[in-house]
């Protein structure tokens, strides 16, 4: 899908109304769908193009770091995983075979490193993850301390429930629910079939529902 095919008619129709709006692409820019653009970028990175590398960093660094942080529950280790993932992008892009999408390739590299780290640190405790609590706070607009406190408690409880899931279920839920990957993309990252993915997601959501049952009734009460 070409973004310009949406932008050009919109410019023609709206004319001056769009003049003050800065669009992400200059008019007339041909922008292909993200997957093929990712592929072109990876191929350019393979030829040593640092600008293409930067584009992929801008596109995926946040998601990769967030994914690793969710799996490892350790911000420092998540950053190391992100660094290693992009180092491998830079050094191995020349050998990338476009059987998989670049996006799922990067997530798979990150996930494999997370698994290695989880194996290594079984006996160690992870540092707490400093995550923004935007989702809990941003939407409120209400300043009742008790309500804010309750929301923070809910957020914390949900985080604990996610951490308590087995790694594969947590990875599946993180990819699909938090990173917005499609089922097919999550299957590529986890190297499993769609049936297996659905099974992981179902078991994961069931586990979360059980752990959070008291919160669900709390929220139902809050809504009424």
């Amino acid at each position: 899908m070409l973004v310009s095919s949406y932008i050009a008619p919109a410019r023609a129709t709206l004319g001056p109304a769009l003049s003050g709006i800065e669009l992400p692409y200059p008019s007339g820019t041909r922008v292909t769908d993200p997957t093929s653009d990712d592929l072109a970028c990876v191929q350019s990175v393979g030829r040593g193009d640092a600008r293409a590398y930067r584009r992929l960093v801008d596109r995926y660094l946040l998601g990769i770091t967030r994914f690793a942080a969710r799996i490892l529950n350790d911000a420092g280790e998540a950053e190391e995983v992100a660094q290693e993932t992009f180092l491998r992008l830079w050094t191995e892009a020349a050998g990338f075979e476009p059987r998989a999408q670049p996006k799922t390739w990067l997530y798979r590299i990150a996930r494999n490193q997370c698994i290695d780290r989880l194996r290594k640190r079984r006996t160690r405790g992870g540092a707490a993850l400093p995550l923004d609590e935007g989702a809990a706070d941003a939407s409120s607009g209400e300043d009742r301390p008790s309500l804010l406190f309750a929301r923070k408690q809910t957020a914390l409880r949900v985080e604990q429930a996610l951490d308590a899931l087995p790694e594969r279920q947590r990875a599946a839920i993180t990819l699909v629910h938090y990173e917005g990957l499609s089922g097919a993309e999550a299957c590529e990252v986890l190297e499993i079939s769609l049936e297996a993915l659905e099974s992981l997601l179902t078991r994961g959501r069931r586990g979360l529902r059980e752990q959070l049952s008291e919160l669900q009734s709390f929220r139902a009460g809050e809504g009424s």
Partner: protein, 152 residues
């Protein structure tokens, strides 16, 4: 489960979709999305299941999340191409240095070996009769009359 496009969705399959992907239709498999949405519109049981799945989704959405990458991390990652090139240059320099040292050592070693070999093969110096040897040398070096003179 790669269903063909616009696969019919039964209530039981709809429940499976909700169990796995939750209530957000954007997460449902594309091939079943349209049929699932149609079922949701016309079936009250489907709507009840959907609402139930939605309550868990609301909770999941409240989990803390990272909204931006730490600037220092981004800077370190953007530096990778430069750092990597520097490391490659340093490695090449080190290996050039190592080979230069090796060549120099060989260069110094060759004359030593040659000297040792030639010394071993062509040396004819005997150390058995030191006196005879010295007398022979003296006879060559000094005039005959000097040798005949008696020393005081």
């Amino acid at each position: 489960m790669t269903a063909p496009k616009n696969t019919p969705v039964t209530l039981s399959r709809f429940a499976q979709l909700l169990d796995a992907y939750g209530s957000d239709a954007a997460r449902w498999p594309e091939s079943e999305r349209e049929a699932a949405l149609e079922l949701l519109q016309r079936d009250a049981k489907a709507r009840a299941l959907h609402e139930q799945a939605g309550s868990l989704d609301v909770l999941l959405a409240s989990a803390p999340t990272m909204n931006e990458v730490p600037a220092a991390l981004r800077a370190r990652i953007l530096e990778i191409p430069v750092r990597h090139a520097r490391e490659i240059n340093a490695t090449a320099h080190r290996s050039r240095g190592r080979f230069f040292g090796l060549r120099l050592s060989l260069f110094a070693l060759v004359p030593c070996v040659l000297g040792f070999v030639s010394g071993t093969l062509f040396s004819d110096v005997s150390t058995d009769n030191d006196d005879d040897t010295w007398n022979e040398i003296a006879a060559v070096a000094m005039p005959t009359d000097v040798l005949d003179e008696e020393l005081p």
